[in-house]
Symmetry: C2
Subunit: 497 residues, 2 copies
Amino acid sequence: MPSKTLRTDTETTPLANGSLGDMSPSEFRKHAAEFTEWIIRYLEHPERYKVLADVAPGDIKAKLPGSAPEQPESMESIFSDLDSIIAPALTHWNHPGFMAYFSNTASKPGILGEFVSAAINPNAMLWRTGPAVVELEEVVLDWLRQLLGLSADFYGLIHEGASLASLVALAAARESLNLRIREEGMIGRTDLPKLRVYASEHSHSSIDKAAIILGVGQSGITKIESDAEFRMIPDALERKIEIDLKQGVKPMAVVATVGTTSSTAVDPVKEIAAICRRYNIWLHIDAAYAGSAAVLSEKRWIFEGSETADSIVVNPHKWLFVPVDCSVLYCRKPDILRRAFSLIPEYLKTNEEVRNPMDYGVTLGRRFRALKLWFVIRTFGAEGIRERLRYHIQIAQDFKSWIEESPDFELIAPAPFSVVCFRYNPSGKKLHPAEIDKLNETLMERVNSTGEVFLSHTKLRNCFVLRIAIGNLGTTERHVKRAWELLQEHSGTPRSA
Amino acid sequence: MPSKTLRTDTETTPLANGSLGDMSPSEFRKHAAEFTEWIIRYLEHPERYKVLADVAPGDIKAKLPGSAPEQPESMESIFSDLDSIIAPALTHWNHPGFMAYFSNTASKPGILGEFVSAAINPNAMLWRTGPAVVELEEVVLDWLRQLLGLSADFYGLIHEGASLASLVALAAARESLNLRIREEGMIGRTDLPKLRVYASEHSHSSIDKAAIILGVGQSGITKIESDAEFRMIPDALERKIEIDLKQGVKPMAVVATVGTTSSTAVDPVKEIAAICRRYNIWLHIDAAYAGSAAVLSEKRWIFEGSETADSIVVNPHKWLFVPVDCSVLYCRKPDILRRAFSLIPEYLKTNEEVRNPMDYGVTLGRRFRALKLWFVIRTFGAEGIRERLRYHIQIAQDFKSWIEESPDFELIAPAPFSVVCFRYNPSGKKLHPAEIDKLNETLMERVNSTGEVFLSHTKLRNCFVLRIAIGNLGTTERHVKRAWELLQEHSGTPRSA
């Protein structure tokens, strides 16, 4: 093969200067087949890599040239660097031992969806710039809405991530107050009440970030206390709202979390929704992780009361086997989203009576993300998705039962889904809390350094807590058992399993 | 092949319940090869489709099932729908006759980059969650920085689009004022001056959107008048700043546009930067489209003066052959970005002394977008990129010369890159301005309805203006000539070319 892969295929792309094309069909066919094999090897044998790579900051950079090549390089040289420099220095999210954060899966149908979507490369800012893109998104998000049991008046749109989706939702909440903030801003206005966003103390940091960006500020966020199971206490919420109202503070939004990031606690949506209705406050539900579980009839309760919520975010790229990125914002008041965001410059004006996605969020350009979600839902089928989620929950619950049965470990949170929070606390020893924290930190480092599994931590009630998160299609009972063995071995506990 | 594509490949993925896997290696190989052939056909023969599909709103939706399938469907059925329902209803961004908005290209190396990136599926929120992802991004963005001739102290990060990148930049500008807006918000504070964002009257709507989101409001944006070539007038900017300062208004940011969306005008960065230095104002440069042209020595002048700018956005997904999405924000003050955005929850705390991307923007989860940019820059080489940009500019300039030579068409803006703004204005007829507008609108509709080309419009000096934008690798002299023929035919002008 020639060293320059970039030459014109004159049969198919007639070019004026003979060099404009990027890769001939036959070369593309060859390289696509090579990458397909690379992907197959990568996905089928992830365990040849340590989950966390043995690299130090700067290691990868040191191996790469400091500037771009002047002349074209062959795909072979890229291929070789991918194998020797990039792959060994990845954190392997699709390793079955990846049990940190929220583990996820780029399923093969999802990967193929991205492949096709990149080739079509539409920009779905307007219906006109991608009729099938915009309509398929509407259809697939309606499928997902039905699968999750959400009411029919929720209008969905895909965003990059939940941070952005929640920002969009809270911007709409601000606009819904009719305070002319869009037009006149927030500064120096004597007619504006102080605004407040309420969220549980376990809510995601993206809510704080959104409040900061929107000019509400950290002082405009009230964190509501939670109960013994880390769920927001509705009475505490109502008390804070009452106090605020008496002081002339205007509630802007309440954020209920369905599946908190630390412990996957589910705030009581029904009670919170009732309070929001009573006080006429925008209710945003952050169900980025756990929302997907509502496909299961036995988990459908998590969205009970959501029919009067204003917005809900669910991330199919977390627990629905779709590659990152795909975060869905459902909103019952698209007209308010539109009021918050629509700005149509002359060059984007069209005549169609349609919903143009650019009017409902921050971004103008948008990829064809609905395609991968369509591929995934169709190839798995609703039943296939349910079966896999049930299995993830089942193996996480197995792990939970081992923790509960062990005298040397303790469960720290209820674990309603596929994440278990626990810690090592050896029986018979009266340890200082700081010592227990240190023991667990060391234990996590030791277990992670084996490269067989990757666990992450959090803090709950100010204690250092270990987390095991199941969400990858490759993760099976065997991997969870192995994680348990490693935890026992490295804590010096005799194996009980 | 069996009707259910989802079955376990027991040789490679041992599973507890025998059905967790999504697609066997051999099935993935088969389908990847099928999609590769589909992509080859799609990209090599785009002209079998009309650029704009003959569809009406709702047409696609009507052909799709109203709810998700319960049981898995075969990849064959998806394939068939892709061909019969989706592909014919797309606006074909990679059609060589796509000359609307800013036309772009998903080059084949870029498509392969997305394919691999979807399979690796890392979430590059932290260095720890993808060491190679974070470092490759740093390296490739430094390559690009050098290619564009930007000074060495610009730190780059990839965002979804320029709307988001500019929001991030303006949030940093707000934070740079040290007004404790992050902590205390913007409402009811007697210590806060009114803030102002200055941008040319031709700046992109995303600047307005960012100001709205950030609580500055539409009244906090001052549009600066432009000269005969649609470039911001520095003196007019300075006058507005002076007036504001006298009235106690605090300048928050100046946005200079390098390549406006309507006419690709280049604001005089050097003069604007001098004003920003004098008054100590954050300078953000929106070079989303035209920034890529700085790879050419003869276009390097567009960034003259940028060395004291605070932030610059350039979109490789516009004119650098990278599939959507890839927008780069360069910032000389990453510490301020960090102050504006960093919020590190306990569960994401790590020990490494590194730059974690999540601290520098809105989003937490981030795809491996650097990979496709790396593939593209390496396979094209810097020279290959320059050659193609020069060719695009050359064929656009050819078109411009035809317009200039025609007695019945007129050039409306200077066209420094590959976009030409023009209109039909038949000689010898004294038409009312509204009549000329109507003629051009009708002409655009007629030309677009042929399906051979897709042109878009804008308004300049309140006149309806046609635009031709060259940015696709498949577009050659032949296509530009054909567009010119169609414009002449459908306006009733005798062919002059």
